[in-house]
Each structure stands twice: as C-alpha cells, then as structure tokens.
C-alpha cells in the first residue's frame, strides 16, 4: 500500500526543461502568475500551486509528460476545463498539471453504429452539437456542459438532469485509451461495450483521475427522441414538489428529468442572463421532462396532471416549443452560477438520499441552514434523490466560513443517516476525502486503495484525492485553510 508522496522537491528547472522538450515552450506554463490560476478547479476554497502546467496535444505527449514526472518523482494531476466542484483537479503536493484542454478533437463519428471517438478535451455540449444533424446526441448533460470536457466527465462520472432516464457518464463510455501512471498506454473496453475480463472501463470512469489519464474516449450516442414535453409544476413549497416526485416514481413512469428549483434559486436565475420567465413568487418549481414516441406523450401528461393535482399543484405550465424548453433548461443549468448574485462565494453541496425520503430530508436541511444562519438555496435532481443545497457566503467573514463548513458536514451526516451517500455527481476529490469515514469502514477504504494501487502503485497520479490517507490526521482539513493561505513564494 502506497502513501501519497511528499511535495515535489526536485529541481523545477530540470522538470520544466524536460517538459518543454515534449510540448513546446508555448504549452508549458511555469511563471508564478500562470500557475496561480491552476491552483484550483470550481472548488476555490482549497487552492495549491502546481510546479508546472503542461498542455499536451496528443496521447503521445501525455505519455511523455507522465514518463518525465515519474522519472523525476514529481506527482501529476490531470485537468480538463477545471469546472469540477470537488477539487479533483487541484494540484496537491506540487503536482504537475497535465491539462487536456488542447486535446479537443472529435476523432470519429459513426452514425450507423451510434458511437463517437473523442479526445478528452472535447467540450461536452460540442459533441451533441456535432451529431445533432444525424439525429443523435450525447446523453450525459452536466449543468456545466457548455464548458466542461468529456475527459473530465469520465474522471468524475458526471451526471446531469437527464441521468434519471439515461444514466450517468459510466453508462455511455464504451472504451478508453489511457496513459497509466507508469507512462504506458493501454486501451480498455471496446466499442461493442464488452471486453473479456474485468470491467476496467467501469472502474476507470469516476475514478477522479487517480488511475491514469484518459487520452481517448469512445462513447455511445443516442437517438434524439421523437417527442419531448417539458412541464413546470409550480408549488407553494419544496416538500410538495418532492412528494410529486415520489408519486411519479411510484407510478412507474420514467421521465427524462425531474428537477426541483426553490424560490431563492428562481429569483437569482430570473435576475440573470438565463431568465426564462419562471414564476418568482412560487415556493418551488418541479421541472418534469418527458420524452419518447409522440404517441406516448398525451397519456403520460394526463397521468402527471392527475398526480400533480393530488399534491396541490398551483399551476402546470407546458413549454410551447423548443425555444421555450431551451430557455427552461438554460435557466436550470445556469442556476449554480446565478448564485454569484447572492454573495461572493458559493458552496455547492452534492449528496444523494433515497427518493422517498426527500420531503423530510429537505425540511431538515433547511432547518440546518437556519440554525447556522446561512443563505441556503436548493436546486436538485429530485428524480435521482440527488440534492444540491447551495450555501451563499463571503469567505472574508471567517465566522461565516466556519458555519458554512459545519453546516455542510451536518447535512452530509443527515444524508448518510437516511441511507444516502456523500456525493452523487461532483466526486470526492479533496472536498470530501476526509468525510469518507462517515460512509465507509477502514476495510471498505482498504479495498478501494487496493484498486488504486493496482493502477497507480507509487501514488504519483493525482495524489491526495478520494481516499483519506493515513497521514490525513496530521494534515488540517484543507477547507479550513482556505483560499487566503495559498502557498506562494
């Protein structure tokens, strides 16, 4: 079992010189200010300075960069667009950031077999756009899809609103080429979706970049459904909206998406460029999306209507056309960023609970927010039981920051108590690494460590993520250190 390495202590000059020889001067960043912006991903509370940032263009360059890191004993961390929310791309221990943003080519689109082969830096939404004319789309649609990369999605097993019906990234990745931490390149899985032996693709998707760097991805494409209906069910409060979610699940219908947006979120979004005419006086809106054959829609709509009326829905609005539907979804997906209007900082939580417990859990989460006097808003994938309590705050107020962290911990404890988990789509990263013990025993974590060590025996690949280290107790909680103590010389 390996321990994460200590901070890179070799000569940066040699490291830089060797890496420049691989990627060229333009694509090797080493000045302090350049490194500064790579200190964190979407989780800004915990920033660390990398030794170097390289921007390779090909798998060969990735492999060469990994080989150099390994030879010089420097840890390295893969990065896509840096939109992750759990610190997966944060360079701990002076790691080299290997950023795949320049590997943005769609290598192959095979419409007959409904697959595409992409480089890891392809932006999620760009793939769906590229295949739209063929009547196809790439199903996983995280809210950051207009910016996040498919390589990053593979690392985090990203979800999105439509995972209720279509599943997460893991259900859509058929094969990968990856550079292992020993700098060798392997192909895992196959375009057919089956490969003899252990399901290594299944293990790699969602491994948060700790098993290697994925350099090419074969994904499944889906046919754009013939008909889509998007319904806004407007409620006086969040628990009522959640009860309708329970009713729909129990009814056996499988909508494409079931998303709850609360009042504070609606108001923030409606003040932004993503305004979609959501009712700002509503306590909560449940976005219900049905898709499938045109002939199915009417019957399902009628059943939804009946169920919604049972739960005391105030109003049901159905998107009249594709433009209005796009507006609704842009509003939903812009919700996280729109929170920036409420306060300088935002803590986006991510936990999952059994769907039947949503109404009670939501009430308790709000009670926790109130108890800590925090500005809490909720926008979440109700159909999956995937909660996103968002806390708006100002990190410059140390007392408020401490309350944010304490409340976050309590919310996670609550979710685990009802049978839930720490994260549904954002990942563990550095953010929840030290909370893993809430859910898993030392033996459980030991099994995970064995998997990591099989791929990454010397621990140089993205160290300090996902699994608590035995050294963790000696380190202070990274979040408590905060942004203001980013080490910079």
């Amino acid at each position: 079992m390996s321990e994460p390495p200590l901070t890179f202590s070799g000569s940066p000059a040699i490291l830089i010189e060797r890496l420049i020889a691989v990627v060229g001067e333009d694509h090797c960043l080493s000045r302090p200010e350049e490194l500064f912006t790579y200190g964190c991903d979407g989780l800004t509370l915990d920033a660390h300075r990398p030794s170097v940032v390289v921007l390779p263009k090909s798998s060969q360059e990735v492999a060469a960069a990994v080989a150099i890191c390994r030879e010089l004993g420097c840890p390295f961390v893969p990065r896509g667009a840096g939109t992750g929310l759990s610190g997966g791309a944060t360079p701990l221990f002076g790691a080299v950031v290997i950023c795949c943003s320049r590997m943005g080519e769609i290598l192959e689109i095979d419409a007959e077999n409904r697959i595409a082969v992409v480089q890891p830096g392809v932006v999620n939404a760009h793939l769906s756009r590229a295949v739209a004319d063929l009547g196809l789309f790439y199903a996983p649609d995280p809210s950051s899809q207009q910016a996040c990369t498919i390589g990053g999605n593979v690392a985090e097993n990203s979800g999105g609103p439509h995972t209720l019906k279509y599943g997460t990234t893991t259900n859509h990745v058929l094969a990968v080429e990856m550079v292992l931490p020993d700098a060798s390149t392997v192909r895992l899985g196959s375009p057919t979706g089956f490969s003899p032996g252990y399901d290594l693709v299944g293990a790699v998707v969602g491994s948060e970049g700790t098993l290697g760097i994925v350099t090419e991805i074969t994904v499944r494409l889906m046919a754009i459904p013939e008909a889509v209906e998007t319904i806004l069910a407007i409620f006086d409060d969040v628990p009522s909206a959640c009860r309708l979610v329970g009713g729909i699940i129990r009814s056996g219908m499988v909508p494409a998406a079931l998303e709850v947006v609360d009042q504070r979120t609606i108001r923030a979004v409606e003040a932004s460029v993503y305004a979609a005419g959501l009712p700002t006086e509503a306590g909560a809106v449940l976005i219900i999306e049905l898709d499938g054959a045109a002939c199915e829609m009417e019957g399902q709509l009628a059943r939804i209507r009946a169920l919604a009326e049972n739960e005391g829905v105030r109003d049901l609005r159905i998107a009249e056309n594709a433009e209005e539907r796009t507006l609704f979804w842009r509003a939903r997906k812009g919700a996280f960023g729109a929170m920036g209007r409420l306060a300088p900082d935002l803590y986006v939580h991510d936990a999952v609970v059994p769907r039947a417990s949503l109404p009670e859990v939501l009430e308790e989460i709000c009670a926790i927010g109130d108890r800590y006097s925090l500005k809490l808003s909720n926008v979440f994938h109700a159909g999956d039981g995937n909660l996103h309590p968002n806390i708006s705050f100002d990190r410059r107020d140390p007392d408020e920051l401490a309350r944010v962290l304490a409340a976050g911990r309590e919310m996670l404890e609550l979710c685990v108590r009802v049978g839930g988990v720490l994260t549904g789509e954002h990942g563990v990263g550095t953010e929840k690494r030290d909370y893993m013990g809430m859910l898993f025993s030392p033996d459980d974590l030991d099994a995970m460590r064995r998997l990591r060590d099989a791929f990454n025996p010397d621990g140089l690949c993205n160290p300090g993520k996902l699994i608590p280290t035995t050294r963790a107790c000696m380190e202070s909680n990274p979040k408590a250190r905060g942004y203001d103590e980013v080490p910079l010389e």
């Binding site: 392997v186 199915e296 049978g419 699994i467």
Partner: protein, 422 residues
Amino acid sequence: MSEEVAPGTIDGLRAVVADGVRLLDPPERTGGSRLLARVEPSSGEELAECLGVFARCREPVLVTGAGTQLDLGNPARGVSVALSCRRLRGIVELDAADGVVQVSAGTPLAELDREVEAQGWLLPLDPPNRGGTVGGALATATCGPRQRGFGPVRDAVLGMDTVMASGARTRCGARVVKNVTGYDLAKLYVGSLGTLAVMEKVWLRLKPIPASIRVLEVDPLDAQEAFGLAVAAGRRGSARAVALVGPEPGTQEKNSDPWRLVAEFAGEAAATDADANWLAAGRPAKAGSEASIEAVRVLQGERRPMGLKARMHLLPGALAAACVHLQAYGARVLAYPEPGVVHASFEPRGESTPDWLPGVLGRLEEISVAGGGQWVVEALPEEARADWDVFPGASGLALMRSIKERFDPDAILNPGRFAGRI
C-alpha cells in the same frame, strides 16, 4: 482425502458452521474440479469467518451460488473445497416507494422475481438460466434476450456487501440510484466470476412493470432483410427484446429465408402498439407471448455436451456479415442486434474434439476480428477445458492481474477461473 485439503481447513470451517460442512465421498466432479468438501455458510458473519479460514490455511476455494453456470469461464485450479452461497437467502429490504431492493446473494432469482413483482416492480436481470441465484447472475453477468430493455447486468447494481479473500467484510455503493462516492468497485465484481471477492448481499435497482407488452414473431426472412429489420426494431423506443434466430445447421439449404425474428415491445400501450404495428406492417407477423421469449432464452441456455458455445459482441453494422459467416461454418446462431450480441453454438460432426476444436476457435477469432468484435467461449467439451482458455485476447490483462494480486494475493478465490486464468 484430507491430505488433499490444507490442514486445519475442514476443522476450521466446522468450527464456524458445523451443520454447513459436508464431506464428499466419493469426490464430486463439478465444473472441472474434483471436490472433497462443500461448505454452506448461512449468514454474512459465517461467510466472512469461512473465508478467514481459507485465507489462514491458504486453501483455494470454488465459490458458487446454485452451481448452475460452472460451465462458464475456465475451470478452477487446484480446488478441493467448494463454498456455496445458497443459504445466504432472502430479501433484506424492499423499498417499494423507491424501487430498490437489498437481497442476499444466494437468493434464487425466481424467488426474488416473485417478491419484487408482488410489490409492483420488476427485477431487470435476465440470465438464460432462471434456476440460479442473484449472486450467480451478477458474477457471470450473463444476459438473455431482454438485454435491450434491461441494459447490461452491471446497471442493475447499486451497492454490494462483499467479503474479501482476507475475510474482511466490505461494502461499496449504497441503496441510492446515483452515486460517485469512492471507486465503483461493484463494476469490477460484476462479471468477475467470483475471483475478487464473494458477494454477501446486494442493492439492486428495479424497473417499473410495463403497462403493456406486445410480442411479435416474424418469419421467415432472408439475411439481408432480417438484420436491417432487427437493428431497426431494436432501436424502437419500446423494444425490450429483439432476437434473430437462425436455422438448425444443415437445414438452410432447404430454406432460402431462414431467419426468424422475435420482438418484444414493453411500455406505455400507445408506444408498444405503435412499435408493434410498425413491425407488422406489410409482413407476415404473428402475435407471440412470454413463451416466445422464454423459447429464445432456452435456446441461448441450451448446452450440448460435445458442443462449443461462443458469445460474440459486435457493432450493429458488422452483425449481419458475422452471423452469415458463423452460420456458413456450421453454427446455430442466435443474435440480439441491440446491443449487438451473437450466440453461436457448434457441434462436431463426427470429428473428435482435438481435431475439430482448433478450427472452430480459429474461425471464431477470424470472424470476430473481421467485424471488430470481442468474443468469449461460454461452453466447451469438458475434456478440452484444461487446454483452452475461454477468454481469448483480453486487453489490459496486466492490469487485471495486478488487481487480482491485490484483492486476492494468495489466489484463494476461484483461482484460474477468469480471463488469462486469473
């Protein structure tokens, strides 16, 4: 006989589960092994303690469920003791509001099917052999005609409690339907033929019972029409099972349109009717039933003692050519165009196994390579199992070995059963 089992093993097992250890005299020949004893723990604690005994004694063990699918994979190497999970039985929790169930691994599938359906849900597992256990279905990851509707086996698994080779009890995943908390170890365990850990109980995701089911049988079709139609049928929104059944070998000369299509549509009545009407339009189609699907399943599970069965995974575009080649080589072919699985069954015609087998395996490899496919052997004549690895050309084998070495360093669990005889 005890000199063939590491000292202390049997006594150790008896101390854990007195009534669950049976000595087999004469030895039992099962799945290519010669078994001298069988242990059947009846709880997770007992399972863990049993594996602790095997670990301490460094005694390898053949882990089984009901023992119905030991034809799959390679035979275990050097095992004399079997551990069966079939007494780990029963539903732990069925949450009808959430559509999830936690069940002990040794529960018979048929029993779980019944309980789940009584609560208004459907178990989305469809192994060709319904006589096995839940754990067996997951460990083999085999799937019958309903793969199109149910998805791959691994999609049904939300969480797992397992016992490691060391005897440590661990869990991964949970009861919730979306989860990225830690590595997704369950993905590794599914389909691993029990070589990494032993399942104790699992959380499964259920599917709603469809409001309407329409089964159609269309025949006969020539190859060109059959495959185009089958792929299109498999891509209809409500398709749950689409199978193309080839003719018995040797009969195709008499019949120019040999392919029979069986399709099942499930879901909202409006959708199943629309899809069924689409398929039936202008074709000789007759209504089928559950029995039509069961017949396909039986065909897939059929085992001929001297025969060879292979499963090949192909992209839809490569399906027709591969099936025609397989058939020309004398195979009975059953194809599921979506997601692109072909089951081919061969029998020697008078030749002896050693003369016949290499040719068939070579031809399978050629056909697979030509179609960009992947394949495994699902059944071989018993006497050939020692000589032929049933997992040809697994990529990433070094990583697989590295995983096995870390999960089961002393090669206790089903040694030799898996790809590369891991």
